[in-house]
Amino acid sequence: MRDDLAVFRDVGRVHALAEAIARLDPGRPVRLMHVCGTHENALCQFGLRDLLPAWLGLVAGPGCPVCVCPASDLDLAARLAMDPRVVLATFGDVVRVPARTSLAAVRARGADVRIVYGASDAVALARALPAREVVFFAVGFETTACTTAAALQADPPANFSVLCSHRLVPPALDALLGLPGVAPEGFLLPGHVITVTGLSAYRDLASRRPIAMAVGGFEPVDLLLALKDLVEQVADGRPRVGNDYPRAVRDGGNPAAIAAIAQVFEARDAAWRGIGTIPASGLGLRAAFAGRDAAARFGLVPDPEVPDTTPGCRCGDVLLGRLEPEACPLFGSGCTPDVPVGPCMVAFEGTCAARYRHRRL
């Protein structure tokens, strides 16, 4: 399989696919959206947009879970971290994201903030530090939510709890389609999210709102196959849900992962940074796991006064695909990955960060 990966990057195949897409020219502009930071990174890394015909636009939507994590949740995490009993464990990208403060800033003031690779590492930390309270700040889409769920089901020690900020992709797509000036003609669906969830939620969405959808993987051939599928759907006016990443995506997803999410979490209305509240788009712990809720354990509630965005930052527009990062007045001058103003420049999957890393010099 690994050897096969080379064929998914083969230049001849990539160019032939790009030409096959160009031949589908419908004689008008077509605007598609992806909702995955890893897609943005692959598009930039392999220079794929340069291969696409001028009539085909592919904008980035809210596909970076760190970027959409609301400032009030980041603030809650920072306040938890300031509690001397607490060791706050989370993903590296989350630590640097600016809100009212950042986890990096409170760490500099003495808070015990640790970077972990995932929930199971945070559980291991809790085992290693039995006298401390380890709080895992859980950010991410379904791909990550299933790992948090599995860690909680594996009977972690009593000093382990979770601050849960997981988000779900389908309700966000539904919401985007209702926003004027945002709705694309087709969604390039995030391969790894759908590896977990399968396609049923997207078929439901398609039955309510006809729109082209295709699941794409992350190698150039995978991505171009999905784009070709989307353009074909748009051109023939028969939207469907295509699976162009079948080596990872099964129709029913990963049943064990779906069950883990369903047993541990329930859907709740949730805020997306720069976008607002989207119904049933977040995950909260079910009653059986309420004892693992870090906010309840430490008696903290979100502060509604925390400003969601930084003045001057256009992340809200970038996250909705309304603005190309390069068009933000701060891009590359006032805002760089070293000195980020907004979340989209901090996270590896942020659209601004991906564009900056791969900018032409």
Binding site: L17, D121, T144, Q153, L225, R247, R250
Partner: protein, 74 residues
């Protein structure tokens, strides 16, 4: 943090295993892929295997691409 990478499962020890890619190895939790066996290619995310890659499907996609390259029906 959302990066998920393909890795090959080399050993299994209960609910954990060891997976490798290009000489880099790490421990992965296998809770979510109960059927995984040694030699499988896994998608690994945040320390957990979240799916087993299907080699037959990978070959099929390539066959599809070959057809597309010849200008035949997609």
């Amino acid at each position: 943090m959302c990066l998920a990478v393909p890795m090959r499962l080399t050993t299994i020890d209960g609910v954990e295993g060891r997976a490798e890619v290009q000489g880099v190895g790490r421990t992965v939790r296998l809770d979510l892929v109960p059927g995984a066996t040694i030699g499988d290619w896994l998608i690994v995310h945040a320390g957990f295997a979240i799916q087993v890659l299907d080699a037959a499907e990978a070959a099929e996609v390539m066959a599809m691409v070959a057809v597309a390259l010849e200008g035949g029906p997609p």
